[in-house]
């Protein structure tokens, strides 16, 4: 009796997923709310975190602290936006830390500074962004045309750029003397520095590129099914190189932002940008396997990570445990946000 009931339930589910006993259970459990939760999961997590922290630390929701959160989110947001274009294609770029360090040093020695006689002003910023773009292009071309795994190409480039940054570093730390440049981080408008406005503007442009251009749309298609895109006669290599170029340029911008924030050239300025950047993307729901996620997802992920860090400080958690808590949050958040993709035969590398 039990056996036949189960069988008929299965048959009904097979014939038409939303009819019959099994279908009824699926309808009530699945539908609207579930789907909304799937895409809004990270946002819900962010809201919950804000709620918990604001109850534990009264200062958490103060204007000054919210401003501090935005300030510390600017650089990770730039890195995460750039990474998103690479991740949705199913590739990865590890070179961000090195590239950011290199552009930081390049900018610091080319703009008015205390060590070298150069004073290129805006030119220094352009050279730095150009260097980031160039290394991104190189990454993309080695990956797309020499057919080496992106993880390895960018691992090599990470080391190369990190080394070049240290080699370019003069014996003493160059202090940046260009007042307008340092002002980007120091002068506040409505309590927020220009860097945050710039980061928001860059994110908006990235969003338009992702949603409204061939580059963005085909990037998702490459991540979802690259073979199909190739069969459709699309020059996949070109779009891959473009994604890496964007990612490299964004890493370059991140290096420039850190230069404005710390006011000196530092060969390790990019340190600690890469893994949190990738973590932010995957927490926001951008899959490492590609095809899902996007700029907005990654930005939510950045806010989750930055809010967590800030909240841990505000609630007086032992700072030595900060990394441990972050690690647990990364694993739990990614497991929760991809739970609905579970299949017995799913391959996760």
């Amino acid at each position: 009796m039990q056996q036949t009931r189960l069988l008929s339930a299965d048959a009904g589910a097979l014939a038409s997923p939303n009819v019959g006993e099994a279908g009824a259970q699926r309808r009530t459990a699945g539908a609207g709310l579930g789907r909304a939760l799937k895409s809004a999961g990270p946002l819900v997590a962010l809201a919950a975190m804000v709620l918990v922290f604001s109850m534990m630390a009264p200062n958490f929701l103060s204007v000054a602290n919210l401003q501090a959160i935005l300030e510390s989110a600017a650089v990770p947001a730039i890195i995460a936006v750039g990474l998103t274009f690479v991740l949705v294609q199913g590739s990865i770029d590890l070179s961000g830390e090195g590239v950011a360090s290199l552009t930081n040093i390049l900018l610091a020695i080319l703009i008015a500074n205390s060590i070298t006689p150069y004073d290129l002003g805006l030119g220094a910023v352009l050279v730095a962004i150009g260097a980031g773009l160039g290394f991104g292009l190189l990454n993309g071309m080695l990956y797309a045309y020499l057919r080496m795994p992106s993880l390895i190409v960018t691992l090599g480039m990470w080391l190369i750029t990190l080394g070049l940054a240290a080699l370019l570093f003069p014996s003493r730390q160059p202090q940046i003397l260009d007042g307008r440049f340092v002002g980007l981080a120091l002068d506040k408008h409505l309590g927020i520095s220009a860097l945050v406005y710039l980061a928001v503007a860059i994110a908006l442009v990235a969003l338009v590129v992702e949603r409204r251009t061939r580059l963005g749309r085909i990037g998702f298609a490459i991540g979802a099914d690259e073979a199909l895109v190739r069969l459709a006669g699309i020059n996949v290599g070109l779009y891959k190189v473009a994604a890496f170029a964007i990612c490299g340029a964004m890493a370059g911008v991140a290096g420039i932002f850190t230069a404005a924030q710390i006011g000196v050239g530092n060969p390790l300025a990019g340190e600690g940008l890469l893994f949190p950047g990738i973590a932010a993307c995957v927490i926001g729901g951008t899959l490492l396997s590609g095809g899902r996620g996007g700029v907005l997802h990654s930005l939510v992920g950045v806010l989750v990570l930055v809010t967590l860090r800030n909240g841990l400080v505000q609630t007086g958690t032992n700072p030595l445990l900060q990394k441990t808590i972050e690690g647990v949050v990364i694993v739990v958040a990614v497991a929760a946000s991809t739970w609905h993709l579970r299949r017995k035969t799913r391959v996760v590398k």
Binding site: S150, G156, L159, A227, T324, K349
Partner: protein, 326 residues
């Protein structure tokens, strides 16, 4: 012609000169790097120098060997270096309580944590990159917390550490341990079912699953071995310095990955092995030593590492076997 056919009869996988180059590529890279280092500093060939070199290189080599197993599955273990630091800290903390027994306890504990990590990747279905990125944070945070962000000294005269720091027949015991682990793991990979499962899993996870390979068990084994090797590496570092620091092994993360990759083990899984990793690991060590001896700044070492990765992998990647590269 006859010459080539004789080779291809002996080694069926070597059909063209290109195959031969790809197979020997990592060894050639090692030979070239070694020749360069010797030409800069002939003194390195002295037995004492070799001895010191192998003693110094042992922790990195054991990490490279351990990290190979997850890579053979097509996964990656970013947490190995953090695990090495954590193991050194925990061992130094347990030493006053457990004495010499702290060593097996730490290695066993690392194995259990690694197995849990590998098993969770399958159960939670999250990529190993994300999982080990998370545990990288967890382990390094715990190492900081447990040690209160300070160094912990251990006294001399403890059996396991005297052994790891000592020599047998003129060879450093630490390096002999590396060789022993290498031989045992290579035999396991070659001759046991679990070992063959690792290669099957790496070549095609789905096909292996359909043929009855336990995915979660295989992954748990691989990550357990990776963590145990990492813990052993941490203990070797501890035996060298006789104090533990919470970040003492963190700069080994990249060289360990470089060693695996330069050896010719494909990051997509299923291709390569422990001998390849030993060659790659030795290359990484020689680059490090070479740049130091040549008097180049430490930064040049990073650049050399990066360039060697790109060249070695460009030469050794078999592009006929892979369709889509990610």
């Amino acid at each position: 012609m006859t010459h080539r056919s004789a080779i291809s009869r002996l080694f069926p996988s070597l059909r063209t000169p290109g195959d031969l180059l790809r197979t020997l590529g990592p060894a050639i890279v090692l030979a070239v790097v070694f020749a360069l280092v010797v030409s800069i500093a002939p003194g390195i060939l002295k037995w004492r120098a070799v001895n010191a070199l192998l003693f110094d290189a042992a922790p990195l080599l054991i990490l490279v060997i351990g990290s190979t197993l997850p890579v053979l599955l097509g996964c990656i273990d970013l947490s190995a270096a953090a695990m090495a630091s954590l193991a050194a800290v925990v061992a130094a903390l347990l030493m006053p309580v457990l004495g010499s027994a702290a060593v097996p306890a730490v290695i066993l504990g690392a194995g259990l944590i690694g197995a849990l990590q590998g098993w969770l990747i399958g159960r939670l279905q999250i990529p190993s990159f994300v999982m080990t990125l998370g545990t990288l944070g967890v382990f390094s945070g715990l190492a900081l917390y447990l040690s209160n962000a300070s160094t912990i000294g251990i006294g001399p005269g403890l059996g396991p550490f005297d052994f790891l720091g000592g020599r047998t027949a003129g060879m450093p015991n630490a390096f002999l341990t590396v060789l022993a682990v290498w031989v045992v793991l290579a035999l396991v990979l070659r001759f046991t079912r679990a070992g063959r499962d690792v290669y099957a899993f790496g070549a095609s996870e789905l096909a292996a699953y359909m043929s009855g390979v336990g995915r979660d068990t295989t992954r748990a084994y691989a990550f357990a071995i990776s963590s145990m090797c990492a813990a052993l590496g941490g203990l070797m570092l501890l035996s060298q310095t006789l104090y533990s620091a919470p970040t003492m092994a963190s700069n080994l993360l990249l060289p360990a990955l470089v060693g695996v990759v330069v050896g010719g083990t494909a990051i997509s899984g299923g291709v390569g092995g422990l001998s390849a990793s030993l060659i790659g690991g030795l290359t990484a060590v020689m680059v490090r030593v070479g740049t130091t001896i040549a008097g180049l700044p430490g930064a040049a070492q990073d650049v050399a590492f990066g360039v060697i990765i790109l060249i070695a992998v460009a030469v050794t990647t078999d592009r006929s076997k892979i369709g889509i590269v990610k």
